[in-house]
């Protein structure tokens, strides 16, 4: 990187004088500060300054000094952000979502307090002061215009909020991000304070309601760090047989609803969570009879990109672009074609219940486990350990037109059943869950009582190894007490306890 690059990327002269090293920028971060950091599903997070902060923390700890921060982001970042800070043991508090192995270990070891929060609520809760003062915003940008407007990179996340609420701002300008990202983003004006808010005027996933730039008081910008590094760009595994079976059932159901006249021929706007099953559904739609599809999702990944590239999907709205290396290449090669078809919004708008409910989204999200009554655990392993977090699954599940939870029926070579008597942690309740799909089958829970749901889930979704065990539990529970939701209280979580003790939910 050289000064020509500086001029091309930081076009505002005054701000160019704020360019400094990551180490110098990290010196603004002090023990006890709250940092609002960019990043959404491994896209658009800062890549250099977090390591510099981590090094400060290690040095302080080596000197016997305290050094800990609050780390608030859009969603997950990557090893060079969450990972390095967790390894330096300097994150006292983390919100609202993470998926990094080192951060997860620190959370589950009790070293980091973690608030796992709906992504649609988080931004306004920051604004309302639920998380205290925000000291520093640390975001990534593609470039800064001569007027000081900030061109975001591969994600928006909570950046708009961090720029507004933080006292000081540090910007990483990443030369690796395409300058042609300009105009792909849509940053609305402030949503206002209750009770004087107006409707959000998004009535179509393709609507743009704001400007393509982030802005802030330029005097708050204390440092600009030039970087040149890729996003996380995790490789996708090709869909396995189980994922393909799950995807095929969802597509069959949607075809059936179209035939019955209950869904438009181009379906409704699609939301897809992260993971192989969700990706398999999107790949399956490539060969489906549906055309003119619309995307309205948090994270746009390979499957949805290819639907737009093939012309199957006319537009897609998201909060971040998170691609495999191959898909990133296809994205950059076709960015002129894509730029007016993809829209990146702040997560407060993408995940807003008002917009999701109005548009009537079809939502597909992965789960860890479901119970026989249709409650879903999206976050905790055996009730106590955090995996990643609820993310936007609650926003989409509660407010969507159709909502699918998907998982293979077993994990760990069959030692764990994804269908259990009672989930060990509740993220989505019986009131919110409509469809559960495993490679074994499809349970339609709409309009069903808990006892009717139990039959649908046990018969259709459970693995044959566990089906008789579930039926036996249900039959005995139905003799034991109240019949709205039959349970045997001292046995309801015994499958998880057995796994903790023996490594297998099955009785040996």
């Amino acid at each position: 990187m050289n000064s020509t690059n500086h001029e091309a990327r930081v076009q505002h002269e005054g701000l160019r004088e704020k360019i400094m090293s990551a180490e110098e920028a990290a010196s603004f971060v002090q023990n006890g500060m709250n940092l609002g950091i960019a990043g959404f599903t491994g896209a658009g997070y800062p890549k250099f300054v977090p390591t510099a902060i981590a090094n400060r923390a290690k040095k302080a700890h080596a000197n016997g000094e305290e050094f800990g921060i609050g780390m608030l982001t859009g969603a997950s970042t990557a090893h060079d952000c969450d990972g390095v800070l967790a390894e330096a043991n300097c994150v006292n508090f983390r919100a609202p979502f993470q998926s990094d192995p080192a951060m997860r270990n620190h959370i589950n070891a009790g070293e980091t307090h973690y608030v796992d929060m709906h992504l649609s609520h988080f931004e306004q809760q920051v604004r309302f002061g639920f998380y205290g003062d925000m000291d520093i915003a640390l975001i990534e940008a593609t470039a800064i215009t001569p007027e000081g407007k900030i061109i975001p990179s591969m994600g928006i996340g909570t950046n708009n909020q961090w720029l507004k609420s933080a006292k000081k701002v540090i910007i990483e300008v990443n030369a690796r991000q395409s300058m042609k990202l300009e105009n792909m983003h849509d940053i609305p004006e402030d949503i206002g304070e209750p009770p004087h808010r107006q409707p959000i005027p998004i009535v179509d996933p393709a609507n743009r309601i704001g400007t393509p730039y982030l802005e802030c008081d330029l005097d708050k910008i204390v440092a600009i760090v030039m970087t040149d590094a890729p996003d996380r760009n995790s490789k996708f595994a090709d869909p396995d047989e189980k994922s393909k079976k799950i995807a095929a059932q969802i597509i069959d159901f949607l075809e059936h609803e179209v035939k019955k006249g209950r869904l438009p021929k181009n379906l409704l706007p699609l939301q897809s969570g992260v993971g192989n099953v969700a990706n398999a559904v999107l790949m399956g739609l490539q060969d489906s009879p549906f055309d003119d599809l619309m995307g309205y999702t948090e994270v746009l990944q390979d499957g949805m990109l290819d639907l737009v590239l093939s012309g199957k999907m006319t537009s897609a709205s998201a909060t971040a672009l998170s691609f495999s290396p191959d898909a990133l290449q296809r994205f950059n090669d076709n960015i002129d074609f894509l730029r007016n078809k993809l829209i990146l919004r702040p997560q407060e708008f993408t995940n807003h219940p008002e917009v999701i409910r109005r548009l009537g989204i079809i939502a597909m999200n992965a789960m860890i486990e479901a119970d026989i009554y249709g409650n879903v655990n999206s976050t905790h392993i055996m009730g106590t350990k955090m995996m990643n977090g609820i993310g936007g699954s609650g926003d989409f599940t509660r407010n969507s037109h159709f909502s699918f939870f998907v998982s293979p029926s077993t994990a760990k070579d069959g030692a764990i059943s994804a269908i259990v008597p009672m989930v060990s942690h509740h993220d989505h309740t019986e009131h919110d869950v409509m469809f559960i799909v495993t490679e074994q089958g499809f349970a339609d829970l709409r309009g069903k009582s808990p006892r009717q749901r139990a039959k649908a889930i046990i018969d259709n979704c459970s693995h044959p190894d566990y089906r008789p065990m579930l039926q036996d539990y249900y039959d005995r529970a139905a003799k034991a007490g109240g019949l709205q939701t039959p349970h045997i209280l001292n046995e309801a979580l015994s499958w998880h306890q057995r796994f903790v003790e023996t490594g297998d939910m099955r009785i040996k």
Copy 2:
């Protein structure tokens, strides 16, 4: 009742010819039919035809014939509707809310399938066909205009939906309801089908966005039954000491937020669930420093009525009016003053996440129990038996600006703790619950991790009899496994099991 009354109440000549007895009207109801019945919190439900249907069912059963119906309402009704139908054992299916002792018994005995559903979602789910075809609408009206427009009575509930979706319509015209109710209701046009919906233009609780009348295809009206009977009109108990203590803490908190500049001086629109504690808060506001209050709630009861009558509250929006006999008298005596200050809307609008989130409601709802991590059970006794249902508590809790859950810290003379290691049923998860208040104290859970929440709830909200037991559970759980949400899986529900076995959660 005489024919003069008929002419005054049923002003449409053609419809006057449809006047018949409740028994004749009930003859339209056949075994296996789905009925959409009016009623919301003991207001505006049909009072005569349900008994006639129950008598038909009893007769059929005595003859060895099957006779069962699906009973879908707005929310709860009263003994002369839910009660008589349950006692005739003719309700195969019930949704989305009930609170009748006989109905509850049938549900918990497994004789009635009950879908306990968010009130904001129910109406659109009916429209989308989740509950199958609707055969008959059975609603209550105050009167019918010469043009055949229907003046609703003390509640709207789901009536608009029933009139649209049912094949046949039966209307009870209740001469007991004041003719001056005309123009108090606000029925918006259809909300439309996704993805072509527009924003709901309610930006102030006092906005009217529709017409004051219900309408339907008049050819669908097969029967009109003249009635003259009161609503449920349950008497309110005066707030006890515990309710007053809970109310005082909430009002103190709101005063503090106003002082800090984080709430407007007239607060934000208030939602209040049913019950003595909620009523105590509203009574407490009568003597508070706040003026120009706004109400935005499902059920408007005595406490909120008196705030409007005293001038403390400028307007109140609700879906039903449910008063004690004394309050009903005050309402009728002052109806000219009240008519443009009270607005009754369909529950799909009152409880809509779009409107609740936009307006920034302050929500107060009762709970059965909360656990140390802030999960709340609003519906089930000891995990298996249905009490009433979730009602609108999920709609308001998830989407409100501030959301309080309130309960005395113990029940059954101390044998039940309202704070437990793990709730026996999850209706509102850790992601949604902000404040828990008992007579012992106030737990502010905002921005806190599960371990921080546990400290706040155990220290502030639990009863001294149970506090050491809860602390002991937490301390042992924190040594046992993952520290995001410490639990001992085979002990988490043991308090409930102990109560089932011994009648007391305490160890004897």
